[in-house]
Amino acid sequence: MAMRSIHVQTTINGQPAEFLCEPRQSLLEVLRDVLRLTGTKEGCNDGNCGACTVEMDGRIVPACLVLGAEAEGARILTVEGIAEGGALHPVQAAFLEGAALQCGVCTPGFIVAAKVLLDANPDPTESEIRLWLANNLCRCTGYDKIVRSVQAAAKIRQETAA
């Protein structure tokens, strides 16, 4: 029953990476179990909670619905790669200031999703934020402080850019 492993070359958080994975292993499994990047969380393993959200070639994807083998040649960003050098990304800083996390297990998915949103749309409206984050479940906060923190992060980014 042993399955042949697949050799994959990819880019993760700006660094070249290569790994061996089974054909059935998801990108989420590879990140967590093979590469030990455990910041990306598993909440449901069927694409419905958003805890495993990563950026893949500029799009947000649930890593549980991508096969490890599909990472070949891709450019992947996980929560571990969001901070820039020694400084937190504005989304991370705003989440801390705005108390946008309680248990924190959904937080990596929200931070990756919000970062990609602000890359594409630096000044989103509240409804644009809500629509964009609708695939990320949070059971602790009621979302209020998450939405406000994304709004605050947008302001920080604009002020820094100005």
Partner: protein, 784 residues
């Protein structure tokens, strides 16, 4: 009213300290009645574990993989109720990569004794039976066999290869079904406890008891308006995003080390010790970060199983539940069947309150019907009250606590009938509640008299809130209000403070941090020591490294572990006075302490400077305190909610939502608001969408996060908060606890809003589009 002016001024100051985007029109000022000023308590520092949690570095249970680990999986029952004729594990055991298999036969037989499972006692046999089924399966999802294998995929395949021969039995899915005389009995050895006495006939009613005050017959006789209705609520799940997980290593020296995500590391230790019949001192539990719990991560499911697999294989065994396992094998909270009757005289005075609550415990007794009965009429001062409670076993997963367990179902019923009586009397619903509200000295039906409480203040805050008088606008819109009570708990906590020579202080505690409690506990120590929150470095440690600490639950963590931190800090202050005295050749009694500065006869020294001299003044400075506090203060919460009902589809939209809660003292207002917002939204989900859809065969048909519909960010408006602070005289900083009361009123408040929007009263949760549409359609049919 000078006190009101003070409250407003404080409120304005408090509002101006708010963080966030600055568009504060959604936020209303907090009502601050506890006007004592603190330097640290009441501020909003960044939480100590925050950076780890926004960078992905925090280690949650499933993030730990020890070298040489095996991975486990559990075979669960596909049937709601069946006898197990035989289990054949041979095919699984023969598979390449499978290392061990365990069944109930591997557990030591359960002694006939009670065991403390975190927030109460239960029979050890029930804990055993739920961990691995013994002879019978009592619900779909009941764990039967566990497998350890080289990886999780192989373990799951092996679990599927196990053959179990079942004899199917009839099942009961609701309390009324299970209470019927012809219902199949789940437990042959379960006899109804009736008013404290055990009866002789096996039954699914585990317990029936009654609390009374006065004479309800008299009260109803004096009433000019009497309303009575019956309500049902569906089973719902806590819905934490992180599935249950564990790693266990039963070492060759007999020591068992468990790493897991739990609300109570000591509960895991103590229950595992009882189940496996080993001393607690042989077990060390290291709590890793926890991804939500809401009560559902108090019970022990996987830990003893992983331990047995580890003992068989001599290797660490890691187990992580799938989302489906979480839905069918853990949690849920009781579905309920509640009848409420309310009588009032024409002048708006409540004369009699009567309720009968039958709650589904799931497979084993313990539905949290008692707290439902304690809380159902707690907001009201009424001389004649009668509450009957039935704890009923059904063929669903064994109930776990869920945020104010038992109270939301009760409030859904009571707060609608209260509203109806107010409506029939032509009295404003808030005015009616205020006229009858509980105060200091009011006796609750279950016995205790209230000490200082904030029921009236919460209702006044509702009445004074701009939301209550704002125009609704639009068609098919309605505004509802409801109030809820939760008593909160104290239990036991420990805390150690170690002063570093750079003036910082390590704080060691045992309360797993689900929502920022490292910081709310550290802030209380900082307040006493007169240093900043950032100078306290809190750490949640394993069960070998801190004194016993009860669960993170019952809204107790900031209250009780914070109190232990307060007491340990008092001891540090006493020691530091003595150290300063040594420097100056005077006794400690001659040294004054204020805000981190120690002084005597014109000389003074700061905390940091004094800490640096620890070695010269007698060595390390350290203190431990333990508490079992008695001064628990209950919390009242009320909501104002505006809804719009789509009469064509039955969909209900929340237009505006304001949560009001008496928290005693908000130690960290941002996280207090967060608790209020989070509890409110869980209540909104419970109200409008969430339910276990059960097939006729008793199996759950929606065990995924797609089909079990929890609120998303797109379903909601901002959730406004109004913190009311009626200081709890039983706590050094006036803390009551904030975690739970906020989930109680939302379903009832939304039902009351739907009544005003669409003219229909919903008597079943959830009030999902099909249910609302059917009610509207029926009302139209009757009108036509």
């Amino acid at each position: 009213m000078s006190s009101a002016t003070t409250a407003k001024a404080e409120a304005a100051a408090s509002a101006s300290r708010r963080n966030g985007s600055g568009d504060s029109q959604d936020y209303e000022p907090n009502m601050v009645l506890a006007t004592r000023h603190f330097d640290v308590v009441g501020t909003r520092p960044v939480r100590h574990d925050g950076t780890d949690k926004v960078t992905g570095r925090a280690i949650y249970g499933a993030d730990l993989t020890l070298p040489d680990s095996l991975h486990g999986a559990v075979l669960r029952s596909p049937h709601a109720h069946a006898r197990i004729r035989s289990i054949d594990t041979s095919k699984a055991e023969a598979m390449d990569g499978v290392h061990a298999v365990v069944t109930a036969d591997d557990l030591p037989p359960a002694e006939d004794k009670q065991v403390d499972v975190g927030e109460g006692m239960t029979r050890l046999a029930y804990v055993h039976g739920n961990i691995l089924a013994n002879g019978k399966v009592l619900y779909q999802g009941h764990a039967i066999v566990a497998v350890a294998a080289r990886n999780a995929h192989i373990a799951q395949e092996a679990a599927r290869a196990i053959e179990v021969d079942y004899e199917l039995l009839p099942s009961s899915m609701t309390a009324p079904e299970a209470m019927a005389p012809e219902a199949e009995v789940l437990h042959e050895d379960l006899f109804t406890k009736e008013f404290g006495e055990e009866t002789a006939r096996p039954s699914n009613i585990a317990e029936h008891f009654r609390w009374t005050l006065g004479d309800v017959g008299d009260g109803f006789g004096r009433s000019s308006v009497v309303a009575e209705r019956t309500f049902d609520t569906a089973t719902v799940h806590q819905g934490y995003i992180e599935p249950h997980n564990v790693t266990a290593l039963w070492n060759h020296d007999g020591r068992l080390h468990i790493w897991c995500s739990t609300q109570g590391a000591f509960v895991v230790r103590d229950v595992t010790a009882k189940v496996l019949e080993i001393p607690v001192s042989n077990i060390k539990v290291t709590p890793l970060e926890i991804g939500g719990g809401f009560g559902g991560k108090i019970p022990v499911y996987l830990e003893p199983v992983a331990a047995l697999l580890s003992r068989k294989t001599g290797r660490p065994v890691k187990m992580v539940m799938t989302r489906e396992d979480v839905f069918i094998g853990t949690g849920p909270t009781a579905g309920s069947h509640v009848r409420v009757k309310v009588g009032a005289s024409a002048d708006g005075q409540l004369q009699a309150l009567e309720a009968s609550l039958a709650y589904e415990a799931g497979a084993y007794p313990g539905s949290y019907v008692a707290p439902g009965g304690m809380c159902i009429f707690a907001p009201y001062d009424c001389a004649n009250v009668s509450v009957d409670c039935y704890d009923v076993v059904v063929n669903k997963p064994s109930c776990a606590a869920y945020r104010a367990p038992g109270a939301p179902q009760a409030a859904f019923a009571a707060e609608q009938v209260i509203d109806e009586v107010a409506e029939r009397l032509g009295i404003d619903p808030v005015e009616f509640r205020l006229q009858n509200c509980s105060k200091e000295g009011t006796r609750r039906v279950d016995g205790p008299k209230f000490r200082r409480i904030g029921c009236e203040e919460v209702l006044r805050a509702v009445q004074d809130h701009p939301h209550w008088s704002a125009p609704l606008g639009g068609q098919n819109r309605g505004r509802g209000v409801a109030v809820g009570f939760w008593f909160n708990v104290g239990l036991e906590s420990s805390c150690t403070l170690n002063v570093n020579t750079d003036g910082t202080v390590h704080l060691v505690e045992g309360s797993t941090d689900i929502g920022g409690t490292r910081t709310s506990i550290a802030m209380q120590a900082a307040e006493v020591l007169g240093i900043s929150a950032e100078e306290i470095l809190p750490e949640v440690v394993d069960t070998d490294s801190v004194g016993f600490t009860s669960v993170t639950g019952g809204s107790r963590t900031t209250f009780a572990t914070g109190w232990a931190a307060h007491d340990a800090a008092q001891k540090i202050v006493a020691e530091m006075r003595s150290r300063a005295g040594k420097l100056w050749g005077v006794g400690p009694e001659a040294v004054e302490h204020e805000k981190g500065v120690y002084s005597c006869n014109g000389k003074s020294i700061g905390f940091r400077e004094l800490a640096a001299k620890a070695s010269r003044t007698g060595g390390p400075v350290s203190a431990t305190a333990t508490v079992k506090p008695r001064g628990v203060g209950g919390s009242f919460s009320a909501d104002i909610v505006d809804v719009e009902v789509d009469l064509e589809t039955g969909k209900v939209d929340i237009l505006r939502f304001t949560a009001v809660q008496d928290v005693g003292k908000a130690v960290h207002p941002s996280y207090v608001e967060g608790q209020m917002q989070g509890g409110s939204v869980q209540g909104i989900g419970w109200a409008l969408n969430e339910e276990y859809f059960m097939g006729d065969d008793g199996t759950m048909r929606n065990s995924s996060l797609l089909d079990y519909r929890m609120p998303t960010v797109l379903d909601l408006p901002m959730i406004d908060t109004c913190i009311v602070e009626v200081a709890n005289p039983g706590h050094p900083f006036g803390v009551r606890g904030v975690g739970e009361a906020n989930i109680i009123p939302p379903p009832a408040a939304i039902a009351n809003a739907i009544r005003r929007a669409a003219g229909v009263r919903l008597q079943r949760l959830p009030m999902s589009p099909p249910a609302v549409w059917a009610a509207v359609d029926k009302a139209r049919g009757m009108a036509a």
